[in-house]
């Protein structure tokens, strides 16, 4: 996948100002998580292509270390990929992740499609970040080249903007 093609994909990602589409996905084999459960606080949705692939591992490991920073800014972090919940469970245990990984598994990639970040040729999602505000509206979105760990800088800036907005009110 070339960078150019990846940019074409990213043009379809839902932009800031769009209401975040509701979803309900498995976080474990017997539990589900709904986006609307988090209304009233910001949510960071981190789409990544696959459990176990090296860059994703680093990205999720970084966010794992950043959790307290996200929580200080009042936000909940949710990872999402098309892997099934048993795969997520093994990956999460191996990497000692302390945040939920959601399984966009059946129908495959349905939530990634709703957010405009499904990669049809590959059958995975883009490496895409969405920061959703307390009212459930997308405040910031970003699609990274699929092989590049986007880091946490953009998420932190977006969450700080949200906090400033709340303080102004």
């Amino acid at each position: 996948m070339t960078r150019h093609a990846s940019q074409n994909h990213s043009a379809t990602a839902l932009p800031a100002g769009t209401p975040a589409p509701e979803f309900s996905l498995h976080s474990t084999p017997d539990q589900t998580v709904k986006l609307s459960e988090f209304r009233g606080q910001p949510v960071v949705l981190a789409f990544y292509p696959a459990d176990w692939s090296p860059v994703c591992g680093d990205q999720m490991a970084l966010y794992n270390e950043m959790l307290s920073e996200f929580q200080n800014l009042g936000a909940e972090l949710l990872g999402i990929s098309v892997d099934g919940s048993w795969c997520h469970a093994a990956f999460s245990r191996d990497r000692k992740l302390h945040f939920p990984l959601l399984a966009d598994f059946e129908p495959k990639g349905a939530v990634a499609r709703l957010y405009g970040v499904y990669r049809h040729g590959e059958g995975t999602s883009e490496r895409a970040l969405f920061v959703i505000d307390a009212e459930g509206v997308i405040h910031w979105s970003y699609v990274s080249p699929v092989g590049v760990n986007p880091g946490a800088e953009g998420i932190l800036s977006a969450l700080e903007e949200l906090q400033d907005k709340v303080e102004v009110k």
Partner: protein, 179 residues
Amino acid sequence: MSGLASKSQLTLPNAKRDHIQGPIDAPVALLEYGDYECPYCGEAYPMIKAMQGHLGDRMCFAFRNFPLVNSHPHAQHAAEAAEAAGAQGRFWEMHDLLFENQDALEDENLAQYAEALGLDARRLMGEVLAGAHTARVREDFRSGARGGVNGTPTLFINGVRYEGPLDEEARLETLIDPD
């Protein structure tokens, strides 16, 4: 964040707070965000040494902590041990010992290294176990996350992130020309 407010302060060595080797106004400023238990940082360590040998006073090197503690269970104490050695004036000696002994970073090893360096090992381990340097390590980590660090090692050369490979063929010193 104290002392690390602006973007450039996140990616350039800062003589006021960082551990640095070489003159702060050297033409080449190398800033590493690293983790003592990270094997890739261990691979970068001799390359940075070689670069320092090659450039001498034309290079300033600074090290900031970026421990990924869920992946590397010994990384936090190792980072704090280096900071505690720094409190006794021997940061770089401990930094080097840790990278040269990445497979032996248990607390008892840290105490041995402190003794080997002639430090007050009881004080050093007391500080590590009491978390005396936890906030400092966290400040390093936060500054990295702010500055675009997404894994280790991340290197900034004169404030610009170095994205190339770290291997013998791509020796860092060939990438820069301080003259």
